[in-house]
Each structure stands twice: as C-alpha cells, then as structure tokens.
C-alpha cells in the first residue's frame, strides 16, 4: 500500500472537528429509504435512533461498504462518493476506522494479528498511533498472543477499537459499541472511549440507541427515524431533553 495519503497533510487541529458533508444521500432499503442531507462539524456526533432506522446502513455508506442510489460524500477536502460524476473511493482508501456492531474480529487470527491487520508501516505512523501507545491507552497489551475467542466481552470491544485506531484513521465510525455489554461493563468501557476521544483527537460518528451514551460522550446528536434525520441538536440534557413518549 503506498504511503501517501489521499488527504492533504496538515497538523492536528487544536480543536478537532470533522468536516463531513453528506449531501443528497439516497439509499433505498427494504421498508424505507435513507434520505440524508447534512453537514457535520462536531468532534463526536451521535446518530441516535431505534433499531432498524438505518443507522448501520448509513455508516456503511460513509465507509464505502455500500453504494447509494445517489450521494455526495466529502470528508475534509476529499470527495469520497459522487454519484453524479461516478466517483467512488474504495473503502480501503477512505482512511476511516470502523468498529462494527458485531466487532467482526477475525476468528482465525490472534489478537495481535487482528490488531496489526490494518496497520500501515510502523515508521510512517505518528507516535500517537503506534502499537505501543494504542495498546497502552486501551490496556490490551497482555492480550496480544491470545485467540479472539478467548476474550471477554469488554476485552473484545477494546481490541476492536484498537484495531480500527491502528490504521491511523481520520474518522472513527462506531456502530453501537456498547450494545451487548451489561451496565457494569459499559461503565468500564466508557472511560476508554473518553480516552480515545481526548488522546487521539479523532472525529467520531457514534451510532447508538442509548441516551446515556450520547450524553456521556457526544457533542451533537442527530436523531434518525426510518432513514431521515428528524432532529439535530447539541447533546446535553438541556438542549436534548427526554420527551414524554420516549422510552
């Protein structure tokens, strides 16, 4: 893989934000169509909605794993998808870290092999994204030789996170990272997510249906219902109160 990024080289912004344009997105699904037209600028943006509202499909679109009927997707200054001009950057060149709902840790590889799968040459990665640093932040060094099937739920979560980080991404996509964990475990993992947010200063798209996670981690929240964004607001209790008919 060549070493040059498709993005212009620039120093990390002191206040990290993402400049992600999702314009004229249209993707027909089984029951409804995803229709999104939004420009994102916060560091951690939550995509909030009930199951089946199209959240995962939207992430897949952004990552380049699905082709939309129409879309214009641009990250920073690079156009990733433009159906009008038939431009499509393949997922491997989008420099996005994806932590899927089922984690998708490769069962036939060890933890270490999983972690290193997407890592570009160690010499080219900044010290921030080095193997030692990331495994230190997420406290997974002792797990390196183990098989992924031997890990606990929380350990698997952190390994999946680390694997995505080790690709030196420019954007992190997280699909319900705490979904299958109990409350105690969630409470243990959230500090790691804080660390990732603060240490690596990466913009993140955080998909969830849990209000607490949104309030704990995110700056902004987009409510997604049946493929459409029904609300967009700052993610705090005052601007985003619980409505009477919500669970």
């Amino acid at each position: 893989m060549n070493g040059t990024s498709i993005y212009p080289i620039h120093p990390i912004h002191p206040i990290p934000t993402v400049n992600l344009l999702l314009k004229n997105i249209s993707l027909p699904l089984a029951d409804f169509s995803i229709e999104v037209d939004v420009e994102l600028q916060s560091q951690v943006t939550a995509i909030f909605g009930p199951s089946g509202s199209g959240k995962t499909s939207l992430l897949d679109l952004i990552a380049g794993l699905r082709r939309p009927a129409s879309a214009f997707i641009q990250l920073d200054s690079r156009v990733l998808t433009n159906t009008a001009e038939e431009t499509f950057v393949p997922p491997r060149l989008r420099e996005m870290g994806y932590v899927p709902q089922d984690l998708a840790l490769f069962p036939h590889l060890s933890v270490r092999q999983n972690l290193l799968y997407g890592q570009k040459s160690e010499s080219r990665a900044s010290p921030l994204f080095s193997f030692g640093h990331i495994t230190g932040v997420l406290e997974i060094q002792p797990l390196a030789r183990r098989r992924v099937t031997d890990l606990s739920g929380g350990e698997r979560q952190r390994v999946a996170l680390a694997r995505a980080l080790l690709t030196s991404p420019r954007l992190l996509l997280l699909d319900e990272p705490l979904r299958s964990l109990d409350e105690a475990l969630k409470a243990k993992i959230i500090p790691y997510l804080h660390r990732v947010r603060d240490e690596f200063k990466l913009p993140m798209l955080y998909v969830t249906h849990d209000r607490q996670e949104v309030l704990a981690l995110c700056d902004e929240v987009l409510e997604l219902k049946r493929g459409r964004i029904t609300k967009r607001t700052r993610a705090n209790a005052r601007d985003w109160p619980i409505m009477n008919n919500e669970p």
Partner: protein, 222 residues
Amino acid sequence: MTAEEWQIVWFTAWVSALSTLLILPVGLAAAWLLARRDWPGKSLVQTVVMMPLVMPPVATGLILLKLLGRRGPLGRFLHETLDLDVIFTWRGVLIALGVMSFPLLVLSARIAFEQVNPRFEQIARTLGAGEARVFFTITLPLAWRGILGGMTLAFARALGEFGATIMVAGNIPGRTSTLSLSIFQHVQLGQDAQAYRLLGVSVALAFLAVWTSECLLLRPRR
C-alpha cells in the same frame, strides 16, 4: 498384488492427485465468482459448470474426444504446434479426471465461500486490504475446511472415473490403465481374483479419502 497391479494403483493415485491440484485454481476462482459476484450470464456459467456432474460420463468423454482428438479444434492445435497428443495418453486421463471432478470442487468451494460472513471481508476492506489480500487472508482461510472437503470429493471422484476416461484414453496397459478400467477389464475376462484385489484397493482408497474429509469437517470448530 503383482507389480503391474501396483503400477495401476500408483498411476491412478498420482494422476487423480495431479488433476485435483490442477483444477484447484480455476475451481476456486469460479467458486468465488459464483459466490460473491453477480454478473450477466451467471446462471449459464453455473449450469455449464455442473454439466459433467449430471451428464452421462461417456457423453462428456465423447465431447472431450471430439475436442481433443487430432482432428478436433483443440487437439489439432496441440498436435501440430506442440507435437502433443492427448487421446490415448496419460494427459487424456488427466483431463478426463479433471473435467469430471471439477463440478464437485466448485460446488463445495462455493458453499464454503458463501458461508464466510461477508462482514469480515468488509471490515478487512476498511482496514485497508485490497481484494486480493481480502481473499487470501480472510476469505480463503475461513473457507478452508469446506474447500479441503471439496478437494477430497474431487480426488475420490477422480479415483473412480470410468466413462469419460475410457472414451478419451482407452485402457492401455502400463500407460492409461486406471483402477476402474482394470477392474472392468478383469471382469470382462473372467479374471475374478485380480478384479477382487483391485476392488479391495479401490474401496480402501475411496474410504480413506472420504473418511479423511469427514474427520476434517466433523472436528469440533475452534
């Protein structure tokens, strides 16, 4: 067992093994294309690939004979340009075995590929892997059990091939005589003792091949 009989067993075993190895790259490619991609004419290709499995073997053998004979389109080229003969030689046996066992390999490999969770392949792509790397580091390793099973079936099928082989290669002692052809010959001549000996070896080989496959597939998953 006489020296000639061992020669027949050895010949059958190595030519079956070689044919299985030779159809592997094409078979895996075909299986992957059928499992993971959609394209115009896909159903047609799938059907054609399955044909040797459902057609009478002698019919397939006849087609091969006409194609590969010295007067046939392929055979003429081979004979005139490369001075290579296929009919009545071990190459004919090799091709007959390969063609007849190909569908079994593709069928098993296709199922094996389809059972690999595509999510793994997708995530590998987000981690920066190109299609070739995805195939060799993710798809293939996760499908290896089914593929190995397919190879075993293909090998066993090649061991037992008769109809196409006799059409294309005849039963030339010491040159193209396989286990099945020899058993048939011995029965024709009323040489029951020899026939039973070779029958025993056939059964042993086939049993070994399938039992290995069963063990590989039934071993508890990691």
